[in-house]
Each structure stands twice: as C-alpha cells, then as structure tokens.
Symmetry: C2
Subunit: 138 residues, 2 copies
Amino acid sequence: MENLSKYKEKLASAGLRATKQRLMVCKLLFGQKQTFHFNIEDISRLANKSFNKKISLATIYNTVNEFKKKGYLKEISLKGNKTFYDTNTKHHHHFYDEDMSQLMDIEDKNVSINYLPKIPNGKKIRSVEVLVKIEDIK
Amino acid sequence: MENLSKYKEKLASAGLRATKQRLMVCKLLFGQKQTFHFNIEDISRLANKSFNKKISLATIYNTVNEFKKKGYLKEISLKGNKTFYDTNTKHHHHFYDEDMSQLMDIEDKNVSINYLPKIPNGKKIRSVEVLVKIEDIK
DNA sequence: TAATAGATTAGAATAGTTCTAAAGTATTGA
DNA sequence: TCAATACTTTAGAACTATTCTAATCTATTA
Ligand SMILES: [Mn+2]
Ligand SMILES: [Mn+2]
Ligand SMILES: [Zn+2]
Ligand SMILES: [Zn+2]
C-alpha cells in the first residue's frame, strides 16, 4: 500500500496520529478510484467487509469529523436524519433521486446560474449549491 | 378564532380528526402572517409559550408528518441532525447563514438557472433547489 | 524498562424520531 | 338512550443516531 505515506500526511495535517484504525478509514475514504457519498454506517460496514475488522463507531465519527473540519470531506445538505458525507470536496452540485435515495454529482461547470437576489447586508456568498431532484419519467 | 374551520378542513383532508392539540398545532403552523422555518422542538416550545399547554411530541411529529405528506409543509434539505420544515410550500430557494444557523427564503423568480447537465436516462426533473450559503464580509 | 502522553474503545449519556398500548372518541344497534 | 364495539389519539416508552467519557491500550521517551 504505497498510499500509506499520503494517508499519514493527511492524518498528521488534521492533527491525528496514524493508527491502524485511522489508516483503514483513510484507505476506505481516499483509496477509491472514484469519489463517493457515504454515511457513518457505510464506513463501519465497509471496514468489516474489506478488512474483517471492526472499527469502533467513535473512531469513525471522530476521524470523519476531523477530516470534515480540515475540508477533506464535505457534509451534504440533505433531508433525512442520517448525516451524509462526500469525498468529492470540489465545489459541485447533485442530482438526487429520492425514490432510490441515490446521489449523483454534477460538476460545477455544468451548471450556470444567471442571477441571484441581492445578498443580505454585511454578508457575502460562501457557496451556491444546486440540488436537482429527479424521478422516473411517468 | 375564525380560522378554526380552515384548520378543521386541513386536518380532515389529511385524514386527521380535529382535536384540541391538532388545532393548536395548526394555529401555530398556519396562523402566522409570514411563512417560516421550524423544527419540531420549536413547535413544542411555541405551544408551551402561546397556550401554556404541553402537546406531546408524538402528536407534533405525527401531525407535521401527515401535513408534509399532504404537501402542506415541506422538509428542508439541510445539514445537521435536526429535521427542518418550511411552511412556505411554494417552490423557492434559500439563503443559509451557517454561522447564525439562519434560513431566509429566496423567491423562485429571483433565481434563474441558465443550464443544467442532461438528466440521467429515464428520469425527469422534479425540482431544482438552490442553497446559497452566506457569511459575514471579511 | 518505567514513566508518560496520547489514542481507542465500549458503553453511557444525550438528542431526535418512531412505535405502541392505554385512554379517549365515535358508531352501531337494541 | 346507552352499552357494546370499533376506531383514533396520545403520552411515554423504545429505538436510533450521535456525542461524550473514562477505562484500557499503545506509542514514545529517556
Ligand atoms: Mn438533514
Ligand atoms: Mn427557478
Ligand atoms: Zn457529491
Ligand atoms: Zn423557505
């Protein structure tokens, strides 16, 4: 696993020691070819499946939260009571198929907004997120 | 309270009997001059404050969920673990001040989207929601 | 190796939501 | 009218997601 040093760097920069469990979490989060959307339970299940190893939920929550603070992960604005995360940290948008509970990325460059209302006084825009809800045709 | 019959109709159309508690919830939700954003706890607190009456959380959850199904309320796609609702059921968008945890409506007509990517096969758009995150200047 | 610092983890605590069964209300039919 | 019965509502219990805590485990240092 030649990405190990990458992960160690990432952990160090988030102020976290590179422990076995955290390196596993890193591999699951950042070792995939594609970015993806997940919740905490997904990572727990993936750890069991991929490494035959149970990582305590506390460790997953802690690690994910620290990575979120650092900007290595983003939380997704979504309905429902479970928190969803995104390993795609580039600014982008989403298709959301509510029936399938399925999220798909839309690249920022594939959306263009003509105009927005004036921003409240003393405030400026941090980001503009578009959520396109889709459903089966008829 | 001359809106009582309005509320009774609303409840009936959602398949709910008009009980004291539900009429209170209706008054809190639909008896305001302006639409607003809320969570379940807000309604519970408002009931205490406005009517000096405790309404069981179950009743509030049930009523709100039925109204949501009926389209009399909308759930808001937002980060965080509390569910937020909107009494504004017209299609619209939001400013969100993350620091203040403050939502503000943007009328649909004040947003214009130039283009979107092609929709996945067999799907069509149900809605397009824009969330503009704002922050203090500087 | 012993002392210390730091990390992990299980389980407790908390918070949000859903479920359930006792209590309440409506309907039926004598 | 008024039991008997069926259906509905509600309070609180149960459950689930998340965070907190403190005991245990591991790594580092000297
Ligand atoms: Mn949410
Ligand atoms: Mn629009
Ligand atoms: Zn995404
Ligand atoms: Zn709104």
